[in-house]
């Protein structure tokens, strides 16, 4: 892809070369909507025309809050057509009250100062209130048929260095950090990832991932678009309730590529119908990213789905992060994902990875995420000593590493060390291959989403009967569900928790973070340990929680 042409350039290029190739095949209940590349240009121009007539101009921001639908793709592309900067934000789930949900986004909306909102008519009022005094046009989806594509004008030329879009991490107020790649960063990423995955226009990418997440937006929308591939899109909520719809989509459209977080491999296995009969051998790669790739989960997936044509060589662990657009390292195709087993004591006490033989007790297995993608350099910042490979924070730099967070100089200042981005993840490098073992940041990854422990605690602190500042949130690995369990300890006056209190803590967290804690546990006053500097000592509280046998 030529960096100067950007996203819209790719769309026009492929629409000229392969006009009738499907750009998007979208599942809507029992039906499938299909848009060829030629039709995608028309829909994009319709949205561009509508945004333009609403007063949106180059460099202005457009905030998109929609559920799974075709308009989310074309509103995004329509904004880029004008040189405007779109941001897709999560739409409240049916369990979330919009009048309580959108105020949580007031800070983000104030930071973006969008010129236009794209949402549904029945959501517009709640979002307008969250905008406060910001004057902003509201465009309702689906777009009225009266929007005329010819009024879109010519696509804007977007200069290097200008953001193409803004994508936020899942943190809440004050901790959300936006990345805003420009065309050259996106092109460098595509140029590195494309050959590593063998991407081309004949690929068909099946996905249920939401587009506010980097793996959905970049992996399953913008990267396929840059190669002229076909996107097969499913509703994340429908997939959660019935994961076999992904297998159906793979077979129906002979999908070649699937991106999923680790938990999704596990969820697919756990919910696999006994009479499942799908053909999955068309898939060249199931890429596992966005949360630690667990060797047991990947092996279990291959075993459980082998009768459907799933093989070990299809599984490709990937180290991805929005700060590197999406992918920083990717395992090469191998008969099975490569794993190394290291001594657990040396890992935890000496920060050293000492490789041990399979089956040795007191060892932990980690999957190789492969070498860094072209243009990316990785290094380990380790203070450990002794025999073995150094274990420490993974740092990266290179042609598709970002330069800083969007309008957040405080976060940017602490993000880099000597020009290297400090990822907050812990790992080691063996040969040239990266193994990820944990993280330093106070992040719990639940179902592929990063939750910041302080955010969870702040949300829990809003519940009646809970003392703010006397709450501790952390994650506990759970191989059975293939992700982390979110545990929240709360101090109460008598160390007991009423049903009402637990309900209100869980509801408060769900409302703000779209994630339900696995467990809320009451502890007596003074139980929670703080560091000498008065911060919540999550590692120690977690250790004591597990030691007390409360982890079951």
């Amino acid at each position: 892809m030529d960096p100067s042409t950007g996203i819209v350039g790719s769309l026009l290029h492929h629409a000229a070369r392969t006009p009738w190739r499907p750009f998007l095949i979208l599942r809507r209940g029992r039906y499938w909507q299909q848009y060829s590349y030629k039709e995608a240009v028309v829909e994009t121009r319709r949205w561009a025309a509508a945004l333009r007539s609403a007063g949106v101009a180059a460099d202005q921001h457009v905030t998109i809050a929609l559920t799974h639908c075709a308009d989310i793709y074309f509103a995004f592309l329509g904004a880029v057509w004008l040189g405007a900067v779109p941001t897709i934000i999560p739409f409240p789930t049916p369990k979330q009250d919009p009048s309580l949900y959108w105020p949580e986004y007031a800070d983000l909306l104030a930071e973006l100062r969008p010129s236009a909102l794209v949402t549904y008519a029945d959501n517009a009022q709640a979002m307008r209130q969250a905008l406060g005094g910001i004057s902003c046009a509201v465009l309702e989806a689906p777009l009225a048929r009266s929007a005329e594509p010819e009024k879109a004008g010519d696509p804007a030329m977007i200069a290097a260095g200008r953001p193409l879009f803004v994508q936020y991490s899942s943190g809440t107020t004050g901790r959300r950090k936006g990345v805003a790649p420009d065309a050259s960063l996106l092109a460098a990423h595509a140029a590195a990832l494309g050959p590593a995955l063998g991407l081309d226009g004949t690929d068909r990418i099946a996905s249920w991932l939401p587009l506010y997440h980097d793996m959905g937006l970049v992996g399953c929308f913008l990267t396929p678009l840059s190669f002229g591939s076909t996107i097969i899109a499913l509703d994340p909520f429908e997939w959660t309730a019935d994961p076999a719809i992904l297998l159906d989509a793979i077979e129906r459209f002979r999908a070649t590529l699937v991106w999923m977080p680790n938990f999704a491999f596990r969820h697919t296995v756990r919910t696999l119908p006994e009479d499942a009969a799908y053909r999955l051998d068309t898939v060249r790669a199931f890429v596992s990213s966005a949360e630690p790739c667990r060797p047991e989960t990947m092996a279990g997936f291959v075993t459980a789905l082998s009768h459907l044509g799933v093989r070990g060589d299809q599984i490709r662990p990937c180290y991805g992060l929005a700060e590197a657009v999406l992918a920083a390292a990717l395992a090469p195709p191998r008969p099975q994902p490569r794993t190394l087993r290291v001594d657990a004591v040396a890992l935890e006490q000496d920060a050293r990875a000492r490789v041990v033989r399979n089956g040795k007790s007191g060892s932990r297995a980690f999957a190789s995420c492969g070498p860094a993608l072209r243009g990316i350099e990785l290094r380990i910042a380790s203070r450990g000593r002794g025999v073995g490979l150094p274990v420490g924070e993974i740092e990266l730099r290179g042609s598709h590493c970002f330069q800083g967070y969007f309008r957040n100089s405080a976060a940017t200042d602490t993000a880099f060390r000597d020009g290297w981005y400090r990822t907050g993840d812990i790992g080691f490098i063996e040969g040239d291959e990266l193994f990820v073992c944990g993280r330093t940041k106070e992040i719990v990854i639940v179902n592929g989403r990063n939750l910041y422990a302080p955010d969870v605690e702040a949300a829990a602190g809003e519940a009646a009967g809970v003392k703010p500042g006397r709450i501790c949130a952390f994650g506990v690995e759970d191989e059975e569900i293939g992700t982390e369990r979110l545990i929240v300890l709360v101090e109460t006056a008598d160390g007991q928790a009423s049903r009402t209190l637990i309900r209100s803590v869980k509801s408060a967290i769900t409302r703000r973070l779209q994630a339900t804690p696995h467990r809320v546990v009451a502890v007596p006053p003074g139980h929670l340990v703080k560091t000498t500097s008065g911060k919540m000592h999550r590692a120690e509280n977690r250790r004591r929680f597990l030691q007390d046998g409360a982890g079951g």
């Binding site: 909520f237 919910t271 049903r499 309900r503």
Partner: protein, 85 residues
């Protein structure tokens, strides 16, 4: 309502989440049970479908209600089920 369906639903919830059936009542909601999130809810619905021999068309929509509503929904689906042709 068929009392058997109520018992089956409560038993399956108890098995799925590793709690005692005596802790579950009609007014129990997902927040009262450790681990009852949207993924676990799918597991629960699959187990209920298997145990009761039904297919729930809107697995996801059943999440927002309480156990009583889930029992009533299952009873409705059982009641409207026709024998296979």
């Amino acid at each position: 309502m068929n009392p058997d369906i109520s018992g089956v639903v409560i038993d399956v919830i108890a098995e799925t989440f590793g709690v005692s059936a005596s802790e579950i009542a009609r007014n129990t909601v997902a927040e009262d049970i450790d681990g009852w999130d949207s993924l676990a809810h799918t597991m629960l619905m699959i187990r209920l479908e298997k145990r009761l021999g039904v297919r729930v068309p809107e697995r996801v929509a059943t999440m927002a209600r309480d156990v009583g509503a889930l029992i009533d929904l299952m009873a409705d689906i059982m009641g409207s089920r026709r024998p296979p042709p």
